[in-house]
């Protein structure tokens, strides 16, 4: 390995790994890669944290990360999934929020870690930008989505749940 190996470089490689349920959103932008560490023997440890405890996509994400490390010739690595850092929806980057919107999914409202009914019900329509919307149900087709209706453009839409 070249001596230029750095955590920043590895993070940039991981940019190609996307959330399988939202293929426009990279794991970096989703905020689930919580640390990249290189030890003195060039062993790479990537720490990941689940969006939801029951998220079925987590194992796919982990093996995608492992594949990228292998492709770049990393021989010794470990990809750990833990709750040492707990994910919340504020950890989605600004770039990630834009990607969600272009995908037709409303980004989660920012919150101060106390998610109450007002925060959950508040959603901005990703189609027309109106805030005149109603929440239909906090439980959508996947664990991370809620379902809403826009009273302005009369479209149903989904929101990445604030959590």
């Amino acid at each position: 390995m070249s001596n230029q190996l750095s955590a920043t470089k590895i993070k940039s490689w991981l940019e190609v790994v996307k959330d399988p349920e939202i293929p426009v959103l990279s794991l970096n932008d989703l905020g689930v890669i919580t640390s990249v560490h290189i030890d003195t023997n060039n062993k790479v440890t990537v720490e990941m944290t689940p969006t939801f405890a029951g998220c079925p996509a987590m194992d796919v994400m982990r093996s995608d990360v492992e594949d990228v490390l292998k492709e770049h010739g990393i021989e010794e690595f470990e990809v750990r999934i833990s709750f040492d850092v707990q994910w919340n929806s504020n950890m989605i980057s600004e770039k990630g929020r834009k990607a969600l919107k272009s995908f037709g999914l409303a980004p989660p409202p920012q919150h101060d870690l106390i998610v109450d009914i007002d925060i959950i019900e508040h959603a901005q329509c990703p189609h027309c930008g109106s805030e005149n919307t109603d929440m239909k149900t906090p439980f959508g087709p996947t664990l991370c989505r809620s379902m809403h209706y826009c009273n302005n453009c009369l479209n149903a839409f989904e929101q990445f749940k604030p959590i």
Binding site: T49, P50, F52, A53, G54, C55, P56, S82, F83, D84, Q86, W87, N88, V115, I117, I120, K136, T137, P138, F139, G140, P141, L143, K161, I163
Partner: protein, 251 residues
């Protein structure tokens, strides 16, 4: 650190979630509304996922793999409260159980975020956000149906009266209460029950339902010790059928 005390605590939480998660999933395709169908399926997936993370903690403490623990034990080795194994019954009972259980679960997780046992503190910091959605969902429906028609109020009242002694079984004290409290692992079942009763009272007050007198209730105990109703073993058989045929089946 008292490993036996931690294991007892984590097993009962995990088993409650696994069993109730499976009961929730039985609503798939049968919910009174499509919306409720999706809600119960989604909560089932959350709960089973949460139980899995707890079995992983137990695995790190030296117990078997999560698959084995979930699917290879018999009823008398399960530590869930009897409350969660009862059949779904009508929607009224499922809603009442959803409300009573999820209020308790959320409060338990909030308490455990302070735990001196870091893996449990970290996990509950995460899943309390998920549990909040479950508890909020139950409260919305309780308030709606608990003040709707005379019939819906009466049906919920019957379900509440039936469920309450079982719900109290959630707080069956463990043999390690004193250790857990002293080591600041968990503030204890009694403290939890006090918070829960207040929470339940505050929601029921917003409906036309009447709470039974707490002192008149006889809690359904024994679940934490592996004593279960006749409803648990058939559920476990069903759950583990696929696993026993092919233990390597991809979950």
């Amino acid at each position: 650190m008292n490993t036996e005390a931690i294991k007892e605590l984590v097993y009962k939480m995990a088993d409650d979630l696994l069993i109730l998660g499976h009961r929730n999933s039985e609503w798939t395709g049968f919910g009174p509304l499509l919306e409720e169908d999706i809600a119960f399926s989604s909560m089932a997936q959350d709960k089973v996922g949460q139980s899995w993370q707890m079995y992983k903690i137990l695995h790190e403490l030296g117990d078997s793999e999560p698959d084995t623990v979930a699917f290879m034990r018999n009823a008398n080795q399960f530590h869930n409260a009897q409350f969660v194994e009862l059949p779904n019954g009508e929607y009224d009972f499922s809603l009442i159980r959803h409300f009573l259980f999820d209020s308790a679960a959320l409060l338990r997780y909030q308490m455990l975020t302070e735990s001196s046992y870091t893996p449990l503190a970290n996990l509950t910091k995460k899943i309390k956000g998920e549990a909040k959605y479950h508890s909020m969902h139950a409260k919305i429906w309780m308030k709606q149906l608990g003040s709707a028609t005379e019939e819906s109020i009466q049906r919920l009242q019957n379900a509440l009266d039936e469920a309450m002694p079982y719900a109290l079984g959630l707080f069956e004290p463990s043999p390690y209460e004193a250790h857990l409290i002293k080591d600041k692992i968990f503030a204890g079942e009694e403290a939890l029950q006090i918070l829960w009763q207040k929470e339940v009272e505050s929601i029921i007050e917003e409906t036309q339902l009447i709470l039974p007198d707490w002192n008149s209730l006889i809690p359904a105990l024994g679940g934490r010790n592996g004593q279960h109703t006749e409803h648990l073993q058939p559920l476990l058989d069903e759950m583990s059928e696929v696993f026993k045929v092919d233990p390597s089946a991809d979950w």
